[in-house]
């Protein structure tokens, strides 16, 4: 929870600084686009958080994003009904996650290697099935495009991706904090052996986490593809796993596993997007993007570690004093 406050602090700081330097940052149009982008990235970051909480990592997120967007466009072009096309993409994404989970648990392969191979394979498949041709939706499928457009609610325009992301985030949060499987997931991340010996089916829980991650990547890929409306199989979604992992870590997930909050991850994704937005709004050359995002990320992690040490020292000091006071 403390970590969530920390990342919220970073977000507010970046927003305040950018708004002071250029007040247009807080205009409706900009809030709308930033909210839309943040939500799209938050969807894949929530998926990343599930795997990170188990102590694993999923490097294939960007490639799954690329494959699902490409496949959706390809299926629609071939005349597949919209509902069926989306279902095929999601089932395939889930199957990818299931395969990752099986390889990690039953074959005991390292998640890094399994998903690194995934990164290469799915990117390659996306390029092969399209023969590297750009895909797109043109002006067709207006109802499908409504998924990424704003909708009026109580007089305010809210991007639909935000509503979708909020629904996913609430469901994920309830799952993690209010159900027994959520507790198993944390237990597994903290100490897999202990979790297994206490009777938890750790394999099933791990596999579930990889399925959630791939499914959300697939779903995020569909939404991003609709939003951008033009997909280049070799590029679409490249590096997005790093954005997702960074957002999750910024939001309080520990790569050692067993820690993380969905709210933190959502705010973490917002930090990443707001930074990119700020770079554009303030007219900083785009070449600075990675430097700035990297420094903010590093700053966040270092501050978090310092605060943690300071708190631990204070606690130790208090515990050392208490017996004296009592005596």
């Amino acid at each position: 929870m403390k970590k969530t406050w920390g990342v919220l602090g970073i977000l507010l700081f970046v927003i305040a600084l950018t708004a002071i330097l250029n007040p247009r940052f807080l205009g409706d149009k900009n809030l709308l686009t930033t909210l839309r982008w943040s939500s799209l990235y938050a969807i894949i970051s929530i998926g990343a958080a599930f795997v990170i909480i188990t102590g694993g990592v999923d490097l294939s997120i960007g490639s799954v994003v690329g494959l699902s967007g490409t496949l959706l466009a390809l299926l629609l072009e071939k005349g597949t009904p919209v509902g069926l096309a989306i279902a095929i993409v999601l089932v395939l994404s889930a199957a990818i996650g299931f395969a990752h989970g099986l390889l990690v648990t039953k074959m005991r392969l390292q998640p890094f290697i399994v998903t690194l191979c995934g990164l290469l394979i799915y990117r390659g498949v996306a390029r092969v099935i399209t023969d590297d041709q750009s895909q797109g939706f043109g002006n067709s499928y207006p109802r499908l495009h409504a998924l990424v457009e704003p909708v009026g609610i109580l007089g305010a325009a809210i991007p639909v991706p935000f509503l979708i992301m909020a629904a996913i985030a609430i469901a994920a949060s309830i799952f993690l904090n209010r159900t027994v499987w959520g507790r198993y997931l944390f237990a597994l991340g903290r100490n897999e052996q202990a979790a297994r010996y206490s009777g938890i089916n750790t394999h099933a829980i791990s596999i579930m986490a990889y399925v959630v991650c791939a499914l959300l990547s697939g779903w995020g890929g569909i939404l991003m593809a609709l939003d951008v409306n033009s997909i280049q199989p070799a590029q679409f979604g490249n590096f997005y796993e790093l954005y997702a992992i960074a957002a999750a870590v910024l939001g309080g997930c520990s790569l050692r596993g067993g820690e993380g909050s969905i709210l933190g991850v959502v705010i973490g994704s917002a930090v990443m997007r707001v930074l990119y937005n700020a770079i554009n709004i303030l007219g900083i050359p785009n070449t600075w993007e990675f430097v700035i995002i990297g420094l903010v990320l590093l700053g966040g992690v270092v501050t978090d570690e310092l605060v943690r040490r300071w708190a631990a020292r204070r606690r130790a000091a208090r515990e050392a004093e208490e017996p004296l006071l009592k005596g």
Binding site: K29, N30, G138, N280, N286
Partner: protein, 347 residues
């Protein structure tokens, strides 16, 4: 028997390789020749600088050239610079009669291009590396094309206004030349020589007469970023009047952003190349015009020249090492005819 024939073929090609140097042989160690296949077919490669529908049209031209000039052409589309290097190294290792390259980084690839030029016939297309030992360059004058786009900007904004430029990456020579062409034309500056270009920095406003060029945004070929850049541009510069997309996908991404902001038609768009979304935008009036480079001719002429060089015919080389393919400016009045023709070429 088969083995004997193969041996004879090897000896024959070795003899051809040791033949006397003539004008068509590239500077180097004279270890040319190699795998000219049976029936006189030459093996050529056409290497692009990325993956884009633009290159599919060029590939169609290269394939047509292959038929016309009795060659076998492999079209390779690398993802990035390391990928391009790897592909070319692969070609050289396997043996090839000629390569047409679109260099990603003209200055720093000189050494590599020279190395390749020592082993086979090398020409550049689309983007040049003038300092290298490439035999010639097939393409357009990107600086002049930029100026043509600048004219489109002035046409669509007769009363002046703020302009922003969008591009995938600025390290490519053609991007730099196009950008400078647009800037110099819009700001009514005299023409520069494309070889010794004095480029303005990417950020910082440039003003000249009625026009202000606010900045140039890069996206590293990430379409989502390209769209976000255009969206953010409209926020940072609320009175933005015109967006110029230097790479084929930039204008379509600008259009997406403009549509989302409900400013279609209000913010003018000037484009390069001919993606469907751009041409549709011209038909709908959302795009004022585009500067097309005729990539089909890049492919066809590259193959023609390489096939000639591989057959030791130096007369195929254009004067001054530059075969200029004329640009075509597409606007509302000629977009239908242009698109029809393009559809035929893409098949």
């Amino acid at each position: 028997m088969a083995r004997a024939l193969a041996l004879m073929a090897v000896l024959a090609s070795a003899a051809a390789g040791c033949g006397k140097e003539d004008a068509a042989a590239p500077p180097g160690d004279g270890k040319m020749g190699g795998p000219i296949t049976a029936g006189g077919k030459v093996k050529l490669a056409y290497v692009t600088n990325g993956i884009d529908p633009f290159w599919n049209v060029a590939a169609a031209g290269a394939k047509a050239g292959a038929k016309e000039f009795n060659a076998e052409v492999e079209v390779l589309m690398p993802k990035d610079l390391p990928d391009q290097k790897r592909m070319i190294e692969g070609l050289l290792a396997r043996g090839i009669d000629g390569i047409a390259i679109s260099p990603i980084d003209a200055k720093n690839q000189v050494g590599f291009i020279d190395e390749a030029a020592g082993q086979t016939h090398v020409i550049t297309h689309d983007s040049d590396a003038p300092a290298s030992k490439r035999r010639c360059f097939v393409g357009m004058d990107n600086y002049n094309a930029g100026r043509a786009a600048g004219k489109l900007v002035k046409e669509t904004l007769p009363d002046g206004g703020k302009i922003m430029i969008f591009v995938g990456r600025l390290e490519q020579l053609n991007a730099q030349q196009r950008r400078q062409g647009v800037i110099d034309e819009v700001l009514d500056r005299p023409a520069q020589s494309a070889d010794a270009l004095k480029a303005d920095p990417p950020t910082g406003e440039l003003t000249g007469g009625k026009y202000v060029i606010v900045s140039t945004r890069t996206d590293g070929f990430d379409y989502a970023k390209a769209k976000a850049n255009a969206e953010d541009a409209m926020v940072a510069t609320p009175d933005l009047a015109c967006m110029v997309g230097l790479f084929a996908y930039n204008a379509p991404m600008c259009l997406e952003a403009i549509k989302g902001a409900g400013k279609t038609g209000k913010i003018k768009v000037v484009s390069f190349d001919e993606q469907d979304a751009t041409l549709q935008g011209i038909k709908d009036g959302a795009v004022h015009g585009t500067v097309s480079q005729q990539p089909y001719q890049y492919g066809r002429h590259s193959v023609r020249i390489l096939a000639g060089l591989a057959r030791k015919d130096a007369s195929v080389l254009p004067p001054k090492g530059f075969l200029e393919i004329e640009i075509r400016v597409v606007k509302k009045d000629n977009v239908d005819a242009f698109w029809e023709e393009l559809k035929k070429l893409r098949q």
